[in-house]
């Protein structure tokens, strides 16, 4: 092995540091044993370095690789999909450390490290993760630098300086490329995140589902309104419409069960000024999007369904930004088709007989459907019903009979469920709507932050002449939930985020902490809107805003200009370093004198002594003779003879020389 191929100890230390820094953000996602492989590999490599163990042989290596593959297969059940692929990459990354012999191997390992860093972004592009990744990239670059400093046999912390400087210098150009590089669609389909849990409201709702979801303090989405934010009691974010009740669970209608004629969106009259807003949704691994009633998409790639929902044809695997406009007062489906009416009235046979009987009785006692709704809500309001995050489990068959007449404790989905079957029993088309209600207004940037615990279920009822009307039975039981949110509604119970006592949302009363959280949230929103959500559409608009009409010429000019702007200063700072040769002040003075003579056409020859030059000047310009002799004499004395012992202080003749040169300003030779 040539000396060049050896790995200095400093580099080895940095490689191991960056290896562990890289694995850290992945740690929660990969099987625990992969972390074990890392520790094992690091120990092995260090023992090799200390001369105790040896590098693995070919068969041991093959065995380790085989073990890695089968381990991943056992942990994930397959090798296909993003998670197993990344886990496999990480395992290979760890094992590569054991066979790190030459510099070549280190290159493979470190470039793989950069790639591992990129895979982290496929899971999250959170601001903190990105900031951390900047650190890991710096560490990997440091290891690369250390690899090229032969003979450093001790760990050197300052190696990181050059790496950090280089990355800083690269940053502005990265931004230029980031904003200018055309965003093109996927080149081919890629493995999806098959192993990530679906989050948020699901398309299947049983009593107890939403109360479970309400234990989470994660952010579901953030909304920015173009104008004022409507009051929170109006913020009903529709996500799913459940029209089908089967086996004690509410479901949405499968697309292919809807007759073709019913699939298209019914025309809606929209005359008033709409509410316009932008939503950034956290990845949910689901297809539905959220909007206020009645929402129309204003972004490409967002669709509308026949029950007036927003829908994304692809699952949300990333933070997704979309814009929508809403007309809260628009009338939906003035006339109901026969198929729709039958669908929205359907009830499973021989279930909840008591509840259905109660509904028919109540209906008989009032004049119209409107009054019937009020009667049902009044029952919820006056009878001792409790709104609770901890509802008792219910029997599957006659769940609502049990709830309405025995337990009387339920969360929003219980009330919505009971309400809708009562409506249907009385012949009023009705359905359950699931989504979120309310949200926290961030005073910092005026966005609405909707958390998972804002999940909610309510009802929609179709009334003659009014179309679909929203009715929220929960409001009848617990008006606080709608006015103030879940935390207030269950304050007495103390069950708000009971499972996550460290959630920052518990500390909303600590002003500075809350302000910090909100500021960070505002930053996250900016980040997501500008960086994460930057797509071809936004790119086009941004470039047009900045450069006006786009042309290839402008494009090239900007690109080249930006590069020159960064590279030239970097080059200057690198190449114009101070010389190692110190110039004495007297040399500077003498050189200045020579420059003045040169301007008059009398140049000192290289190698010509000051005395000889003075003689030549004397000959050419006798007028300047005395001055020139004075300067040359002083210089000679100072340069070549020891002056009086004046330690520390400069020789007084030095100042004499300085003055002599300064006053020497000849215009012409003669």
């Amino acid at each position: 092995m040539t000396i060049e191929q050896q790995i200095p100890r400093n580099a080895l230390a940095w490689i191991i540091i960056s290896l562990f820094a890289l694995i850290l953000p992945h740690a929660g996602r990969i099987p625990v044993w992969v972390l074990g492989v890392y520790v094992f590999a690091a120990i092995w490599r260090m023992q090799v370095h200390r001369g105790r163990w040896s590098f693995p042989g070919r068969w041991v290596k093959a065995l380790l690789i085989l073990c890695g593959f089968s381990g991943i297969y056992m942990s994930y059940g397959s090798l296909i999909g993003l998670e197993p692929t990344v886990a496999l990459l990480l395992t290979a990354f760890a094992l590569k450390l054991i066979e790190l012999v030459r510099r070549k191997d280190a290159f493979v390992l470190l470039f793989l490290g950069y790639f591992v860093c990129a895979t982290e972004f496929l899971f999250t592009q959170d601001l903190l993760v990105v900031a951390y990744s900047m650190l890991t990239v710096t560490l990997v670059t440091t290891a690369l630098v250390a690899l090229h400093r032969p003979g450093e046999h001790q760990f050197k912390g300052n190696t990181i300086r050059l790496a950090a400087v280089m990355l800083m210098q690269a940053l502005p150009l990265m931004l230029v490329l980031f904003f200018l590089f055309p965003r093109i669609g996927p080149l081919w389909t890629v493995p999806l995140k098959s192993h990530s849990a679906k989050t948020g409201v699901s398309d299947f709702m049983k009593p107890g589902d939403i109360s479970k979801l309400s234990q989470s303090d994660e952010v579901a989405f953030r909304v920015e309104f173009d104008g004022d934010i409507p009051p929170r009691s109006e913020l009903y974010w529709r996500g799913l419409v459940f029209s089908k009740l089967e086996g004690g669970a509410w479901m949405s209608l499968p697309y292919y069960n809807i007759p073709v004629a019913e699939r298209r969106v019914k025309p809606v009259v929209t005359e008033t000024e709409p509410l316009a807003y932008t939503v950034i949704m956290a990845p949910s691994q689901q297809n539905w999007l959220y909007g206020l009633r009645y929402a129309r998409p204003a972004s490409p790639g967002v669709m509308e369904t026949s029950d007036f929902r927003l829908y994304s044809p692809v699952q949300l695997e990333e933070d997704t930004l979309y814009q929508a406009r809403s007309w809260p007062d628009a009338q939906l489906e003035e006339t109901l088709s026969e198929w729709r009416r039958l669908t929205e009235l359907q009830l499973p046979e021989r279930q909840n007989p008591q509840t259905l009987q109660l509904a028919r009785d109540l209906r008989r006692g009032v004049q119209d459907n409107r009054a019937f709704i009020d009667a049902v809500l009044a029952r919820f309001n006056t009878q001792p019903y409790v709104y609770t995050l901890e509802p008792p489990a219910l029997d599957e068959e006659d769940a609502m009979d049990e709830f309405l007449f025995e337990t009387r404790r339920g969360f929003c989905e219980h009330y919505a469920y009971a309400f809708v079957i009562m409506m249907r029993a009385a012949g009023v088309p009705a359905r359950v709507v699931a989504g979120y209600q309310g949200g926290e207004v961030n005073p910092v940037n005026k966005t609405v932050i909707v958390h998972q615990f804002d999940a909610h279920a309510w009802a929609e009822v179709w009334l003659e002449g009014e179309g679909w009307v929203r009715v929220d039975p929960t409001a009848a039981v617990s008006p606080d939930r709608i006015e103030w949110g879940l935390e207030e509604a269950v304050a007495q119970e103390g069950s708000f985020l009971a499972n996550s006592p460290l959630s920052p949302l518990h500390f909303r009363s600590v002003v500075w902490l809350n302000m910090l959280r909100l500021r960070y949230d505002a930053l996250t929103y900016r980040w997501q809107a500008w960086v994460v959500g930057f797509d071809s559409d936004r790119q086009f608009r941004l470039l047009q805003d900045v450069f006006g009409q786009l042309s290839a010429q402008k494009f090239a000019t900007v690109l080249i200009g930006a590069w020159a702007l960064v590279l030239i200063p970097v080059a200057i700072s690198l190449l114009l370093r101070r010389s190692t040769r110190k110039t004495r002040p007297i040399d500077r003075y003498y050189r200045r004198f020579c420059q003045r003579m040169a301007k008059l056409g009398l140049e000192r020859e290289p190698g010509e002594t000051p005395r000889a030059f003075a003689a030549r000047v004397q000959e050419a310009a006798p007028r300047l003779g005395t001055q020139v002799y004075n300067i040359c004499g002083l210089y000679n004395e100072l340069a070549y003879s020891r002056g009086p012992q004046t330690r520390g202080r400069p020789d007084p003749r030095q100042r004499q020389l300085k003055r002599a040169v300064r006053s020497f300003r000849p215009r012409k030779l003669r």
Partner: protein
């Protein structure tokens, strides 16, 4: 087939000589060369191409997953590559390479070539690799000191002046993605002595004095005594044991059969080719030297008065080495 191949070889050879001419014009031979943009070449290294491939893979990932942070990382690393160009260049720029000396050697032996690398600017230089086409390599840093000496060994060729070719100075610091290099002709020549070749005896031995009897020089001489060590005495004859005992350095004296000066004459080896003649003369010079016998050299174009010692031997061997060469001094 064959003519086509030789044609190709011809083209390659012509290209190579054209390239050599171009380099010669660009970096003319000099004992000291300071590196500037005229003399430094830079190009992505193999590792750099591998890195570019990795970046391409990352770009494809970013495109396929529509992942903006992956885009950002890819672009950051791509610009890092470009920034590295300047850093790699700066690592060579401003260095001065100075030829120091080349040790004389016998044909086929290793000669040591010494060069000095100096920095002219206040910056650290790392991983500077120096090598002559066939020599050992040196890898140095310039961090604490402003100059560093490198000693490289290479096998020399035939008698005369051996030039190791152009010195390669290269570096891939700091990231290994780019290779920055220069070829400098340091005008450094190693003297190659003739290959010593024994001859049974010295024919027609010439001495100063016409009455000189033939002197048997072959074989081991008898030990005669000590004298104080004088500069120029062969170290082989130094009395080290005495020095260790604290007696001061002394030289062992050997008694030759005849304590007379010997002339190594060109004409001694009549009828032999030039190179062989030089080889014999070389052999005898070495023999006399190890016997501490005075000898002189008389060849066409050079006469060296008889003498002894290493200095004397060097002068003699040099005259033999440069015989018939255009160049007399390095």
């Amino acid at each position: 087939m064959v003519p086509a191949e030789s044609g190709e070889g011809e083209i390659r050879r012509r290209l190579r000589s054209r390239f050599r001419q171009w380099v010669n014009r660009r970096i003319p031979p000099a004992r000291a060369v300071t590196l500037d943009q005229k003399r430094i070449f830079i190009f992505p290294s193999k590792v750099g191409f591998f890195f570019a491939l990795a970046l391409l893979l990352m770009l494809v990932t970013a495109i396929n997953y529509q992942n903006n942070m992956s885009y950002a990382l890819t672009f950051l690393l791509a610009t890092l590559f470009i920034i590295a160009t300047l850093h790699t260049y700066a690592n060579l720029s401003g260095l001065t390479i100075r030829a120091l000396r080349a040790q004389p050697a016998f044909p086929g032996q290793q000669s040591e070539f010494s060069v000095q690398i100096e920095r002219t600017r206040r910056r650290d230089h790392f991983g500077l690799r120096v090598q002559w086409p066939q020599s050992t390599e040196g890898l140095v840093n310039l961090v604490e000191d402003d100059r560093v000496q490198v000693h490289l060994h290479t096998a020399v060729g035939a008698r005369g002046w051996y030039t190791p070719g152009r010195l390669l100075l290269e570096s891939t610091y700091p990231l290994g993605l780019l290779r920055c290099w220069t070829w400098v002709d340091l005008d450094l020549y190693a003297l190659v002595y003739p290959q010593p070749q024994s001859s049974a005896e010295l024919p027609g031995l010439a001495t100063d004095k016409p009455d000189g009897t033939s002197i048997p020089v072959m074989g081991s001489d008898d030990f005669y005594g000590f004298r104080d060590y004088r500069a120029g005495d062969s170290l082989r004859q130094a009395h080290w044991k005495g020095l260790a005992k604290g007696q001061g350095l002394q030289s062992k004296q050997y008694q030759a059969y005849a304590d007379r000066s010997v002339w190594l004459d060109w004409e001694m080896f009549g009828g032999v080719g030039v190179e062989q003649r030089l080889s014999h003369l070389c052999y005898w010079a070495l023999e006399f030297n190890s016997a501490d016998q005075e000898y002189g050299l008389r060849i066409p174009g050079a006469v060296i008065e008889p003498g002894t010692g290493e200095r004397h031997l060097e002068r003699v061997l040099k005259e033999l080495a440069v015989y018939g060469q255009e160049r007399k001094e390095p």
